[in-house]
Symmetry: C2
Subunit: 332 residues, 2 copies
Amino acid sequence: MPLTERKPMRMDADGWDLGKVRYYIWKIAAGPDSGTPTGAVLKDALSSSGKLLRPRLLLYFGGMGPEVQTRRERLYLLAAMTELTHLASLIHDDIVDEAPSRRGQPSIQSKYGKDAAVYAGDFLISRVFRWGAQEGLLNAVERLAQTVEDMCAGEIGQAACRYRSDVTEEAYYANIRGKTAALFRTACGLGAAETGCPDWVVKKAEEFGEALGLLFQLRDDLLDFNGSGQTAGKETHKDFRDGIYTMPVLKALRDPWGWNALLPLMRSSREWGLTEDELAIMEQAVVRAGGVEAAWEEVRHYHRLSGEFLNELEDFGSVDGLRKVWCQLGLR
Amino acid sequence: MPLTERKPMRMDADGWDLGKVRYYIWKIAAGPDSGTPTGAVLKDALSSSGKLLRPRLLLYFGGMGPEVQTRRERLYLLAAMTELTHLASLIHDDIVDEAPSRRGQPSIQSKYGKDAAVYAGDFLISRVFRWGAQEGLLNAVERLAQTVEDMCAGEIGQAACRYRSDVTEEAYYANIRGKTAALFRTACGLGAAETGCPDWVVKKAEEFGEALGLLFQLRDDLLDFNGSGQTAGKETHKDFRDGIYTMPVLKALRDPWGWNALLPLMRSSREWGLTEDELAIMEQAVVRAGGVEAAWEEVRHYHRLSGEFLNELEDFGSVDGLRKVWCQLGLR
């Protein structure tokens, strides 16, 4: 029996071995600290594996460049650094949202307390930057650090908009462009740049990543909005209750009838919170004012746009893996 | 009138211009974002200027090296990066401690909310690393990132020790070595290394920094312990109430009488909190068991030790500025 049959290579994502990404995630973030209280928290934070969406984007774009064969290992490393940046942000998001769970497991804050969650997030992000500096990946450190800044600016921008009925769609887009799309953009750009793709491909990769990130967040906000019954155990309308007005609400507010129906609810929401009945009324008002449908139209817009970017990129190389991700995220 | 008299140079700390440190702090952290919600939060976070203790240590050690004249500007930049690392950690500490104020002003969390505080801290630390990467200060990025890891590991270690009556002095020292002494150590080492001090001086600078950091934290814990009336407005015994047992308590627990007096208080503290009367009884028990005096003896130990390091360093160059900091921190 040939060796390859006994020990098959794990090519689980269009020629890329996501096990290698997980190996580097572990090596960078948890390995050196095993046996310490910090190691225990990190181990937990890393154990609930996500879909590795950002690493996959990075690897697929890396696969398009002429230097892919000599840069495979570095691509896996960059992919792990990108996912760890995402994981660090999730730990801190769960503090802000007081989220009891994440990916079906208790959140770090709910299991270890707020102090462990604050410092585990800080630890992880510093570890990513230190690892990058040690490996001489100066460009990646710079890009990822800029991305964390963008993510934070988006979150702070969102916080500054809370409970404000005059939030514009532009402000909403600026906030989600930072908090979500920035890391998608960076993942795509880092992959393409690492393997020597020409500038226009790197730029197009970034534009694709940003469009995909916007569509990802728009969909996520829509699921919070009317995902009742679809996503088991997930609380709906958390955004509205927290004074965060997402696209369906913003669209509904542009309708005079919607504005009149929603404004009193927004006011009482801030003053003393809303009952389940009032939230149901809010949802109906947003639907009736056309907000949900208009928000899905925004999703379709970014789906079309990112699809066009893919078509243009196809002139340069295979976009098979990217098209799969794109298809998945476009589904209603 | 000669030019120097009309426009005096601000040499406010032994030949070093701390205004330059403040300039770089501003330039790195707040300048580029002015006018945005993030800029507003950062401006506030930077406005309450501290004593710039860590920058001063960095500059003084930088002043000892042969290349000081050509590296002055970089030293100011490194000093600002070090202080910003400290500031980022303070913003996050205030989230964990639910602190209403910092340096006489409302804390970021209490003024802008938990979300702004979480992300402003993340933003600041990323900005420091990005700035370092852009300036090619790879070594500083690596060292500061490692330091943030040490600080977080110390904090997580402390969280893991909460309400545990079996905490050892070794565990306490490991925690404060991370959460406080690591940045003192790095500030001293970065300064000495930047201007070409020989290895033994860099190493001694780091040892001095660590000893000074330990003594700084021991003193801070003692002030929390029996600073009543001395530090206006500061809540005392917050550590004990939070289940964080610092040196006076650990020393008192080694005394059989102290152990018997404190254990019931530690248990009820965890279960239902302590009244002011019970806290006063706790304080008296710690004093009577010799805990406070023994903790001051630890301070004196690190003061002597760091003084010895200074004497050794004097063989290499002037330690005048360092000796001033050392004297200030040694005072009871």
